[in-house]
Symmetry: C2
Subunit: 162 residues, 2 copies
């Protein structure tokens, strides 16, 4: 039987292992710079950055969903699903769908206008599944990202312009 | 002279007009469902959903940038730039760049690992500009979105599975 429950601070080691498992699945294990301590501080402090759901199958940890509030200046408060992952050996049991059900329930309770997440454009099985549950792809939009030194260099210009 | 300053609650009418001007520029004026009251409540209450910067050119409102915190389970707290807009008659003066400088400064002060935003894939001048300031495009990722009734329908399944 599948159970979905909110993650607690005592789940941090489990959450960290699931984050790492997802990164390994995406063949990017080296990209995980976060630590258990930071995950704990950021998710379970006074102003948490994220919320997390844990899926269990007959009492065994099987997957997780991690999301946080975002904002649309056209439609108001919305929810972004950052991670959705089911361990390979627990697939085909509807656990991913059950996690999505609960994320949608969280969005619905808060009156969110939109629930969104990102998908790799070559992951057609995932895209087909997401379409089947009522999500649409926004084909024209691309993500731009800036990190580390580029942020600092851009920020440094305010010392002149401010 | 260009000045960048944080928006205050007394700027709501101005912010709303800039949100509308951006939507008209994108030829989607009908997509703006938000009201001034909601923008005020969501941005200036005890747990604000967003922060906003206003650009002024010789004392006249010229543009805005609106952003909020997000979270990366690989790198930690990050910043998402939702809207960046300069009114057409104020373009070519470096106002967009000045706004971006200040958004990067906000990201830097908070120790954000990433600063991100979205761009339309046909907007090559914007992409070239963003590349020139150190941002990179993530070509493989696509946004999935679910709204209104689809969220409710997906959420309803928790009544059975929970």
């Amino acid at each position: 039987m599948t159970t979905i429950r909110p993650a607690m601070s005592s789940d941090i080691a489990l959450m960290y292992s699931l984050v790492r498992a997802l990164a390994e699945y995406e063949r990017e294990p080296h990209s995980v710079k976060i630590t258990e301590e930071q995950l704990l501080r950021d998710g379970f402090g006074p102003n948490p950055y994220y919320e997390c759901l844990i899926a269990e199958e007959d009492g065994q940890a099987a997957g997780f969903a991690l999301y946080f509030p975002i904002y649309s200046t056209w439609q108001g408060p919305s929810l972004h699903l950052e991670d959705l992952f089911v361990l390979p050996k627990f697939r085909g049991k509807g656990i991913g769908k059950a996690l999505l059900n609960h994320v949608a329930a969280a969005a619905s309770r808060r009156g969110c206008a939109r629930l969104q997440w990102d998908v790799l454009d070559w992951n057609q099985p995932a895209i087909d599944f997401y379409n089947s549950i009522g999500a649409i792809m926004l084909p024209d939009w691309r993500r731009m990202r800036m990190t580390g030194d580029a942020i600092k260099a851009l920020a440094a210009a305010t010392e002149v312009s401010a």
